[in-house]
Symmetry: C2
């Protein structure tokens, strides 16, 4: 058997400890698969003394991640500290500059600095891998860069934040409202004390930015993503959507359009019978569409020690086996500058309007939609108290968001709506 | 850019033509991803003159696949002729002996000769890859050998034959019986003129044999698979299963037990709400379970020119990038001789009995089950004509197949059953 692959691990939180547990549990199995033993040389974390439930006495210790990253006796640096800048970035840059392979789970860092770091890895002729940064244990970056490498990819989409999917699933299942279910999720450890990064869509958008760059061969463009969170989704809309045969999901979509790449992270309706519509709880799902293969779907746990460490381990084994490919699947010189695009293809929309209960109101609304060039697939007025505003649900035929916004302005000008309209895209899946 | 990867293609049927179409459509994209151009040097097929809808004039031609496989000017041989032995095997052996990488879609050949061919590839220090042999366009071999390489795999299961899944889906959807739906499938091109290889379970079992060897690091053991086809599944049972919340699928399962590896390809019930239960039409689905990652699910098209060629192309690109790993993920010296195992874990069973409508019959059946140590989860007697046999549905709690067979023998001896009992395992998913 050839010489061991010597690695260093920076960060001993959930992922770092999970990784050490895998390496301690299956050393022989991993060596058979990797073609060589994998050996932890040294580790670092913020606090040395803390009990993390794994035995660390056999490994060296460095206080400074940058010093760890540059150690002469390692070939590969695992960055699982997290953080967009600061020590994680400094150590990653130091490792790459010193000619060490880097495996990271750090989506925040890559969403911001992915292109520069990929270039640095290329210059040093080492690998920069990030399977764990995208959808936890699901090997979807590998599916995209390798499994579907023969395809021109047309669209990637998915549910990439388990916290949001848990909240939406539980709202439907229990009939609880957003605030109560969020509080439950926090108690269960599915949501952070400050949940805004998850429920606001930023966490999932960082993952989408990485998938999108990989799928379409562009520089990472996190700022080009239109982001809308789940904070304003009501039980009312979840139930009306269900009655119409849909579920509301926080859906990330990146699509190649004629002009460039469209990137969105927003609540959308998907058919209840589709794989995305069926996805429950904290699971993640990624859908990859290519010109040769058609549609492929990947589902699994999107977070947690075991799944995330499984993804980190896969990247390490790839490198041990000698696989060094560009971080985003093609050389950085071939990564196009991002050209942002709106949605070229129209989509149906779900609209909920609260209308004054006066004769002729519905006709006026239908007329406003018609004037914007939007035809109606289904319209349903919900039974209501006689003196209250009448909830009206509309499913449009395919239209652009611009046309829809035009129609909503016209409807606003009619002075018949008693509340701001709710509009969600129905994503074709 | 480095020198092109020169390949030869043996077989110009659906897959071979599909592969050529991909290579002709995206040469630049493929070169960027592979790090080098991929160039078809020469091809072969049974008949040279046939119009296959792709331009072949730029490529050399060999009449003999073995001669093609040995050509000095190729590095990689694509075997998409098919057939367990004969020219496919001869050419594959010739290619490996001559130090050429081999990419094949030939599950029949690998299910029988996979271990010997893997050893030959290893001796020549070349790759033998077979993503296309397992579940069409779904990159599930890659997920297993690479994406989940950090895991001890406990179980792989799935729906691996689109023809069978189409037939079962359509029987439920249309209420047609097996023979009529099979005839429809043949007209639509989803089933062969002689469908026995698909509906009998052998096609799917070959795929399972390859997945199982890869998952558990054993020599391929096709003969160790207990195979039962879908020919005897009735609309009656499909409907009763649905009423109980299940769907009947031809399910392949390979599981690590205490004693060895259990391999089964048989109709099973799965919960309607599970990903496997939701799978409709000709799609395939593979579920991979590992100790670190938990459960991951992969869905996509299991057959067809584009999907299968996509998988072949991925293997070619991997090799172009320099990835040469053992065919089954670990060196052949580490592939254990197969130890066959029955099911160690019990499972619930679905039973349908046709019982004489006499007082005390149900009690006798319940008693027979109890004597075999099997407890009943649900029992339902279906309304029937007063003088006909009474259909009785039973869902047992978890029990072994041996215990169940014992109970069925006892019930047979009671002389109350008017027809042979139907029993399907309810696979926990």
């Amino acid at each position: 058997m050839t010489a061991p692959l010597r690695i260093a691990i920076a960060g001993l939180g959930t992922v770092g400890s999970g990784l050490i547990r895998i390496l301690q549990t299956h050393p022989d199995l991993l060596a058979r698969r990797a073609g060589r033993p994998i050996e932890i040389v040294a580790v670092t974390a913020r606090s040395r003394g803390k009990d993390r439930g794994v035995e660390l006495s056999g490994y060296g210790w460095e206080d400074d991640p940058v010093v760890l990253a540059r150690r002469d006796d390692i070939e590969l640096f695992v960055e699982v500290m997290g953080g967009e800048d600061g020590p994680a970035k400094a150590a990653t840059e130091a490792a790459l500059a010193a000619g060490k392979h880097v495996v990271t789970a750090n989506k925040a860092m890559l969403a911001r600095h992915g292109f520069a770091l990929a270039r640095q890895a290329e210059d040093s002729n080492v690998a920069l891998r990030f399977e764990a940064a995208v959808a936890g244990g699901i090997p979807c970056v590998k599916a995209l860069t390798e499994g579907l490498a023969g395809n021109a990819v047309s669209r990637v989409l998915g549910v990439m934040n388990g916290t949001c999917n848990y909240i939406l699933t539980e709202m439907e299942r229990t009939g609880g409202d957003y605030d109560n279910i969020l509080a439950d999720a926090q108690r269960l450890g599915y949501a952070e004390a400050d949940p805004s990064f998850d429920v606001g869509g930023q966490d999932a958008a960082q993952k989408l930015a990485l998938l999108s760059a990989t799928a379409f061969g562009t520089q990472v463009d996190y700022d080009g993503i239109k982001i809308e969170g789940i904070e304003r989704i009501t039980l009312t809309d979840i139930r009306y959507a269900r009655d119409l045969g849909y579920r509301i999901k926080l859906l990330g979509v990146a699509a190649q359009t004629g002009e460039g790449v469209e990137q969105r992270m927003q609540p959308c309706l998907v058919p209840m019978s589709s794989p995305l519509g069926q996805l429950e709880g904290v699971a993640n799902m990624v859908v990859l569409e290519g010109d040769a293969v058609g549609q492929t779907v990947y589902q699994g746990p999107g977070a947690g020690a075991g799944p995330t460490a499984s993804a980190v381990m896969a990247d390490i084994i790839d490198i041990a086996r000698g696989l060094v490919i560009p971080a985003f699947g093609v050389p950085t010189a071939d990564l196009a500058a991002p050209v942002r695009s709106g949605s070229s293809a129209g989509a149906p929309y779900y609209l909920r309007l609260e209308l004054a209960d006066r004769p002729g109101t519905l006709a006026q609304v239908a007329d406003a939609l018609g004037q914007a060039g939007i035809s109606i697939d289904r319209m349903r007025q919900i039974q209501h108290e006689s003196d209250a505003a009448a909830p009206v649900l509309i499913v449009t035929h395919g239209c652009t968001r611009a046309a829809l916004d035009g129609a909503l302005r016209r409807i606003g000008a009619l002075d018949v709506a008693t509340a701001a309209p709710v509009a969600y895209r129905i994503e074709p899946v």
